[in-house]
Symmetry: C2
Subunit: 136 residues, 2 copies
């Protein structure tokens, strides 16, 4: 017996505990990225460090990616199915200065940059701040 969430977990080599299923379910429902404190509010009876470690595990296994949107708390969002979080997989993020929501602009890959000589690239965090379509 293996629903869609369990499959996702299994595909990323994560054992499907109850906690993980619940967290993944919430993450799946979101249209915008979510933070650990927000997750704590949703699961107000769950333990902070368990949620924390759940996110860490998910991130390590590349089920989710983290976005430092400058809000003071890291945001997390589901990766695309075959994402490896390599530079070529990365997309631009957008944070709304009104509603504070953080969007994955999955259709917009991070632009290629010509780094100065002897600088090598590992990853890119590109966050655009502005006003989102809901608030505009």
């Amino acid at each position: 017996m293996d629903n869609e969430l369990d499959t996702k977990l299994h595909n990323r080599d994560i054992k499907p505990t109850a906690m993980r299923q619940l967290v993944l379910e919430v993450l799946t429902e979101q249209t915008t990225a979510i933070s650990l404190p927000e997750l704590e509010n949703i699961f107000h009876n769950a333990d902070k460090s368990t949620l924390y470690r759940t996110l860490k595990t998910f991130e390590e296994k590349k089920l989710i990616h983290s976005i430092d949107d400058g809000s003071g708390s890291m945001k997390y969002a589901l990766c695309q199915e075959k994402c490896d979080c390599l530079p070529q997989d990365l997309h631009v993020h957008f944070v709304c200065s009104i509603c504070q929501k953080t969007f994955c602009l999955n259709e917009i890959p991070v632009p290629t940059i010509n780094l100065p000589i002897d600088f090598t690239l590992e990853s890119v965090n590109m966050v655009i701040k502005g006003i989102c379509s809901n608030c505009n």
Copy 2:
């Protein structure tokens, strides 16, 4: 009597107190961006909140800009002479995963992004992580 630092402060409408002159001097010496904790280490006898407020003032007056490089502490670096910190003034930043230093790539403006319909742009934070020329 008005040295170069005082002129810089004056140009940005900041009263040149002793503390501010010292902090600006340190900022001017840096080739990479610096954080509040680092600044505290340099001025080990100065007060944290004074340094904090000094940076805030500098940033408000656009003498410096802040970079959220994902290290956990905000970094600060001098703005270009006529910078207004508008989107078209922004440049790419680079953080080295070995020496942890954060560089302003002043020659590299942040690329223009075509946002989805009804999204409006205010600012961009683009941080590239990799290995710098010193560590390569």
